[in-house]
Symmetry: C2
Subunit: 271 residues, 2 copies
């Protein structure tokens, strides 16, 4: 399957790249169906925000054109896009004129157990807590050691995802997905202004839910609210929506709002 660096087939990158040295960059994990990324506008919007906040002068029009060409060639699968600030001098200071690098990698669409979507998943309660850094919160940047540590806390297939909380114990997200709870008919997802990754499926579901007149809240989720939720589900841009059925002995039913959002996600992803 093809991989590109700056628009050309390539498998390697300079060891001087700041993406490697400092994680100085961003990424997007992009579902590609029938030669197109169905969530293109959401990915481009997040990338634009990330580049703006990190001060990376990416040519967004070129990036869009390149991603579309890559997706057309890929057909079906996952396009992983990484943007770095490019090469730099020694030291943390960004170069006066940065030449951002665009890396596109392809992989087959992952095969998840069907039961995850039908009956729901069990969450592993990760000990790794998310640090609070408002300047980086929400971004899908390349500094992901917390997720590596958290994902390494469990092995095997009993747990499909892990629950991540912040240093104060609030419920934030999964290791590779966002989390929603349902309480008295309202759809609630964590405020990500201190930590967490603002996923594109989360954004798309929030938009769709609002458009359908559902009550939506983006706010802090204390652990007690999570335990007392009527429904809990996860989402990301590859698997859509998975109901959550349990964590450490606590159980939730798979409820009607979860099923409604699951159908919306399927429509969005064309699966």
């Amino acid at each position: 399957m093809p991989n590109w660096v700056d628009g050309h087939p390539a498998e390697s990158l300079s060891i001087k790249d700041r993406g490697l040295a400092y994680g100085d960059g961003l990424f997007e994990t992009i579902a590609v169906r029938a030669g197109r990324p169905p969530l293109l506008e959401y990915h481009m919007a997040r990338l634009a925000e990330g580049c703006q906040r990190l001060g990376i002068p990416l040519d967004l029009q070129l990036m869009r054109t390149e991603l579309l060409a890559f997706s057309a060639g890929l057909g079906e699968g996952v396009a992983k896009l990484m943007i770095t600030r490019g090469e730099g001098l020694r030291g943390y200071a960004p170069p006066p004129v940065a030449l951002p690098r665009r890396i596109l990698q392809s992989s087959p669409f992952p095969v998840y157990p069907q039961v995850n979507g039908v009956e729901g998943v069990q969450l592993f309660p990760c000990v790794t807590r998310l640090a609070e850094q408002p300047l980086l919160a929400g971004l899908k940047h390349l500094n992901r050691l917390e997720q590596v540590l958290a994902r390494n806390e469990w092995q095997g297939s009993e747990f499909a995802e892990g629950l991540m909380r912040d240093q104060s114990g609030r419920v934030i997200e999964g290791v590779f997905s966002n989390l929603f709870i349902v309480h008295e008919g309202a759809l609630i997802t964590a405020d990500l202004s201190r930590c967490g990754v603002a996923g594109v499926m989360r954004a798309a579901l929030l938009d769709s839910a609002r458009a359908q007149g559902l009550k939506v809240e983006v706010r802090d989720i204390p652990f007690e609210d999570f335990l007392q939720a009527d429904e809990v589900f996860l989402c990301n841009s590859l698997f859509g929506v998975w109901p959550v059925r349990s964590v450490t002995g606590h159980h939730w039913p798979v409820g009607p709002l979860t099923r409604k959002l699951q159908a919306i996600a399927r429509d969005l992803l064309d699966i």
Copy 2:
């Protein structure tokens, strides 16, 4: 100047490397004088601790041999060592059998203004605050976006370094150095169990100071203690010790303990 990947001359790395994808690795910035790294044992000890805490199965004996050979070839300069967890499958989960990658890059010894060491430096008060993550605190890992943001807050040569505080405002370190204060004859440096990078020069100075019977404290440094300090200085493994003479209108004299530690650092670095 030479660069090596896994012991062989190389300038590039696979785009599938987890160092790029997640910053899943560690680094060391190593002064090399007359073909040898004077702080070798401190670098190897920190690398060992980092690998142990991140679960990276690095062959430390091989690493030491390789670093010594690289240093001998380099003669005078800086050896930047990066260790990554190597290539992986898609997703955060570390591969069951990781093959860590060893990257060595050389650069000339940096030339700092002599006045920095003689008269001291002015600190830029960084707005970027360090997030608190005990699981990663102290490590020199590859997730360094906070330092990139902080270093980008000032340009030009008026400020030689920036002051970094934690989310609660405590004084932690410089952007690329550690910080000490002197109070009533005691040498005090920040406790780095919640955030910060535990520099090798900091460790070497702490050892030397203790060996000479100086009073040493590793503890939290409230901003008020910093402002009321008798002396303030910075250290790292390239420049040794720089006195701090001011930050935002507050001034310190260059005192006798700073000069004492500066001489120790010069001896350690052979400069």
